[in-house]
Each structure stands twice: as C-alpha cells, then as structure tokens.
Amino acid sequence: MQILYFAWVRERIGVGQEVAAPPADVVTVADLIDWLAARGGGHAEALAEPAKLRAAVDQAFVALDAPIAGAREVAIFPPVTGG
C-alpha cells in the first residue's frame, strides 16, 4: 500500500511517500494512523493528533473511520487551504 503525506505531515515525517504493509488488524484510516505513529520519530510527531488530520483513500476524501481494505493509495494530510 502506497502512503502519501502532504504539507506539515510530509515535513514532519520527512518523506512524501512510502510503501507500507499494515497487519490485518489495521482496518480503518484511524488504525493506520495509529500504526504508523507507533514507529516513533517523525511519524509519531506528525501523526500524534488524528483530529488534526484528514485522509483520502485511492484519491477520494474519506472520514478517518473509513476502511482501507483493498486500498492501493492512502493519503494523510492536514485540512486543505487552497484558493
């Protein structure tokens, strides 16, 4: 599964994307965030407060309780601020 990070999430983690293979008990985006944060370091710093994060699964915006089963690409990022 490709994981993408944007804005300050990307900066804190230190990379814009990485490949991950979460275990079967990582069911939702929120589970994925917790699982990635458990790596510590930049991941922990970027992902400590899920309430400040938004996500997309296969490029569609989703709530953090959305499932990630079968996803090819999950993006994790702050609220958008374009325009």
């Binding site: 993408l4 944007f6 804005a7 300050w8 990307r10 997309a56 490029q59 915006f61 993006a75 990022f77 702050p78 609220p79 958008v80 601020t81 374009g82 325009g83």
Partner: protein
C-alpha cells in the same frame, strides 16, 4: 467547455477570459485570488496532491456546468512558490445569463477552498508556517450543498 489547470506558471487571465468568451454564453464572470501581503508575507508556497487535485477540480467544474447550465467553466490554480500580488487562483464561467455565471463562479471558488487538496505555506522573514483551515470557508462551501 470545461478547463482545469494546476500549474507552476503565472496565470494568464486574459487568455482564460478570451477562451470563455468564445463559448457562446453572453455572460462571463470571473474570480481571481491574489497572494496577500497580510502584514509581511514574503512568499506563499502552494502544495497539491497531483492527480487527486485535478480530479477534484474537474468534479466541481462538472457540477457547476450541470447545475447552472454553463457553456464554460474554467479553474486554474497556481502551485509552488509565489510572491504577494501574484495570482493564486482563477475561476471563470460562461452562461446565457448573468445570474448563472456569477452564482456558478461563487460556487466554484467556495467549494474549491474545502474540496480540493491544496495546502498553503507562508514565509514571513525566516519563518515558514502552514496556514490553518478557516471555519468561514466551511460555512461558505456549505451554502451550496
């Protein structure tokens, strides 16, 4: 005509408007957002989610075309670094009548702010900071749902 562009280049609004004027709609409306100085911003940097951003903008443009029977909808968003006074975003619409063109223009810019994956980082002096979301943007976008 639907035209969606995410670009690192300066936005040529004269060319975008000229293109909307050829669609056959007698009413053309536009909105241009400029980088604000906001008391000392030296640079604004815009990051986006390649692919997902263009798709989100195209969905908004298609929704506007259907809802207001537009002959044209154009969304051009700048990304990368830019200076105060430069154009960040251009939204333009062409319709048979003025109310449709202007309303659709409001819809596109309001919904773009909440629905398209862009992130702004401001640099003031040596300090760069990511811009936070604004509740008023969600209120504005909510008008159209």
């Amino acid at each position: 005509m639907i035209r969606v562009v995410v670009t690192g280049e300066a936005i040529d609004i004269a060319a975008e408007l000229a293109s909307l004027e050829t669609t056959g709609g007698g009413a053309v409306a536009s909105f241009t957002g400029l980088v604000r100085d906001d008391g000392g911003v030296a640079e604004l940097f815009l990051e986006h989610y390649p692919g997902a951003t263009e798709a989100a903008l195209a969905r908004l443009a298609e929704e506007a075309v259907v809802r207001w029977s537009l002959m044209g909808a154009t969304v051009v968003h700048r990304v990368g670094g830019m200076a105060p006074g430069e154009r960040i975003v251009f939204v333009g619409t062409a319709a048979p009548h003025r109310a449709a063109a202007l309303e659709a223009c409001s819809f596109l810019i309001d919904r773009l702010k909440t629905d398209a994956p862009f992130w702004k980082r401001e640099t003031r002096g040596d300090a760069a900071s990511w811009v936070g979301e604004r509740g008023s943007d969600h209120t504005a976008a909510g008008r159209w749902r």
